[in-house]
């Protein structure tokens, strides 16, 4: 299990922020191990359920390690209007995993997102921090070739 002590040391304060602490942990380790809830709660001086409640509320927070790259596939209104569901199906088929899952080779995790602010160039997806748009079911895979 990852060593959270240095991060927790940093996040301790008279007014601890549970969400910011969990985001920090995820930023460093890619996820927040469920087993670490008591340790986090103890460090922040809040209850286990306070931490577990925040951890389960936010879509961004993961409790499993993700693949090397995270694809955030947009299912927002504008992307649906441009029929993104066909591209999603193609992507899922090629990667061999469904939305929310990780490919067998651990290269990609696909997550759902509602809008990336790239709606003028719908359909859209984001790989790590790069936004891509205007793809089709035929060429969506080619966007991924540079992410090893």
């Amino acid at each position: 299990m990852p060593d959270l002590a240095p991060i927790l040391q940093e996040c301790r304060s008279s007014q601890p922020n549970i969400l910011a602490t969990l985001q920090k942990i995820q930023e460093v380790f890619g996820y927040v191990p469920r087993d670490s809830v008591p340790e986090i709660a103890h460090a922040l001086g809040v209850t286990d359920s306070d931490v577990a409640g925040v951890l389960s509320f936010y879509h961004d927070l993961r409790t499993e390690p993700p693949g090397r790259h995270v694809i955030r596939f947009c299912l927002g209104d504008s992307c649906l209007a441009t029929h993104c569901e066909k591209s999603l199906a193609a992507l899922e088929k090629k990667l061999g995993c469904k939305l929310g899952g990780t490919s067998k080779d651990k290269r990609f995790t696909i997550e759902k997102v509602y809008c990336l602010g790239n709606c003028a160039l719908s359909p859209s997806l984001m790989v790590d921090h790069d936004v891509h748009g205007r793809f089709t079911s035929g060429n969506v895979m080619s966007l991924l070739k540079d992410y090893k």
Partner: protein, 484 residues
């Protein structure tokens, strides 16, 4: 020779970074990275200086770069997408460098600092600037409440959660003109007597977060925020739509689950950590500098009787010229979609349009003459929301779309109210049955009853408005919901 290339993340999705790299190989060229004008259908839009002002080459592929400057560019002032727009809040879009303090100037803040705080509020009230985040509440009245509430600590919070799919105006400000947001917030802080501020930005906007953080650091270093001892911080969201609702946002900012608080007390009186808090949308704050520089009367002279000023509309979905259109309130939907947006893309046929994000009603062709302003939209049973306009084509299955809206509500509900939390899931299940061609009259009646229950029994507009797109889809495209 200067070549202007946007560094906006949508422009980069269209290839602006690759175009910039190609230009790096040309010695005589000085690359200047600007914001985007928001004409995303033209991106990458590369511009140069000419005697007629800036002129542009549109949809430039990197392979064209070596020969591009030999061609004649088109003056921006003659491009029809821009000529009919009235750009104030987005005046700098595509023109300035996002990180340049000199180009921004902070003129409005300097002017505001010389004004009595009450005078600022009077101008804001005269302007009748109504919030651009969705609820359309007059900002001046909100600010006055916070000013008049005695407290040792007050906060100013910008809502940059921009949750409505189909919208991107906040993102364009964050990435393209962050000083305008900072300036609007600093003017507000000066007027209401707040010393601390937060910008709550959705995590889906990493480029905007980086630019805003840099801008705050530069402005702080330059001593611009110091005079009022105003301290500004960025807080990043975690992918929850409900955290765009102001009280859920405040809970989230405090590090908790984003659960909606009952109102009253209103945030203007008891907000962040129970202290008086002004919370406004990014575009609302970004419009404040112009109100201060040009005066409240100027702002009130634009628009319609009850919707003053301009609105940045964001065209998306099935439309030829998708991009940002800033116009005074009062234009019709038809004028926007066809006049600015160029109508449907080749081969696509208009079916419906949705304004105001996933809580906005579905409008058929017959409502295209509706004027874009708050009261007209209420009259025809819709909302303007954050100004997103999504056009759907003939290939759109309305039952599937309705199912999506209920799935969205089920996933994004904060869970406080039973009709919203459970009703949305039940509605989604009914729509799945209808989608399979098995729906009965009773199913439709139940769906309608569920919708009415959600409208009546929900604390906030997520549960309260979520039935609208589904009910209007059934109202206007009822035959698709029949048993097959």
């Amino acid at each position: 020779m200067k070549v202007y290339i946007p560094d906006d993340s949508s422009a980069c999705a269209a290839g602006a970074d690759r175009v910039a790299s190609a230009f790096e190989k040309i010695k005589e060229v000085e690359i200047v990275r600007t914001s985007s004008r928001g004409a995303f259908f033209l991106e990458p839009l590369v511009e140069v200086d000419t005697p007629q002002g800036r002129a542009g080459y549109s949809n430039v592929p990197p392979s064209q770069v070596p020969v591009l400057l030999k061609k004649t560019p088109e003056p921006i002032s003659q491009m029809s997408f821009f000529t009919k727009q009235t750009r104030f809040t987005f005046a700098n879009a595509g023109v300035t460098e996002p990180m340049s303090i000199e180009q921004h100037g902070f003129k409005a803040l300097n002017k505001a600092r010389g004004m009595d705080p009450q005078k600022i509020l009077d101008e804001m009230k005269k302007a009748n600037l109504r919030g651009r985040g969705g609820a359309a509440f007059p900002a001046g009245i909100k600010w006055q409440t916070t000013k008049d509430t005695a407290s040792d600590l007050k906060y100013v919070v910008a809502n940059a959660d921009e949750g409505d799919p189909g919208t991107y105006s906040d993102r364009m400000i964050l990435e393209g003109d962050p000083y305008r947001l900072i300036e609007g917030m600093a003017i507000c802080a000066h007027a209401v007597g707040a010393k601390k501020g937060f910008v709550y930005v959705r995590s889906e906007y990493p480029a905007g977060i980086t630019k805003l953080r840099n801008a705050i650091a530069h402005a702080t270093e330059a001593g611009i925020l110091e005079e009022d001892f105003f301290e500004l911080k960025v807080f990043v969201g975690a992918g929850a739509y409900i955290c765009g609702e102001e009280t859920a946002l405040l809970e989230s900012l405090e590090g908790k689950r984003g659960m909606v608080r009952p109102k009253p007390p209103f945030p203007a009186i008891q907000g962040l950590w129970q202290k008086p808090t002004v919370i406004n949308n990014v575009v609302t704050f970004a419009t404040v500098p112009d109100v201060i520089l040009r005066g409240g009367d100027w702002h009130a002279s634009l628009g319609t009787e009850k919707s003053k000023g301009t609105i940045p509309l964001q065209l998306a979905g099935q439309v030829k010229n998708a991009g940002l259109v800033e116009v005074p309130f009062g234009v019709t939907l038809e004028e926007v979609i066809w006049g600015y947006g160029g109508g449907m893309p080749k081969g696509a046929k208009f079916k419906a349009v949705q304004v105001g994000g996933p809580l906005g009603s579905i409008f058929p062709k017959s409502l295209l003459k509706t004027k874009i302003c708050f009261d007209e939209f209420i009259k025809v049973g819709g909302i303007l929301g954050h100004g997103g306009i999504v056009v759907y084509d003939d290939d759109t299955n309305m039952v599937n779309l309705s199912r999506h809206f209920m799935e969205f509500t089920a996933e994004e509900s904060c869970g406080k109210c039973t009709p919203c939390r459970i009703g949305s899931t039940r509605a989604k299940e009914i729509l799945e049955v209808i989608l399979a061609g098995q729906g009965t009259k009773e199913d439709l009646a139940l769906l309608d009853e569920l919708g009415e229950t959600m409208k009546l029994g929900s604390l906030c507009a997520l549960g309260g408005l979520a039935p609208m797109p589904v009910q209007t889809a059934i109202q206007y495209f009822g035959n698709e919901f029949q048993r097959k």
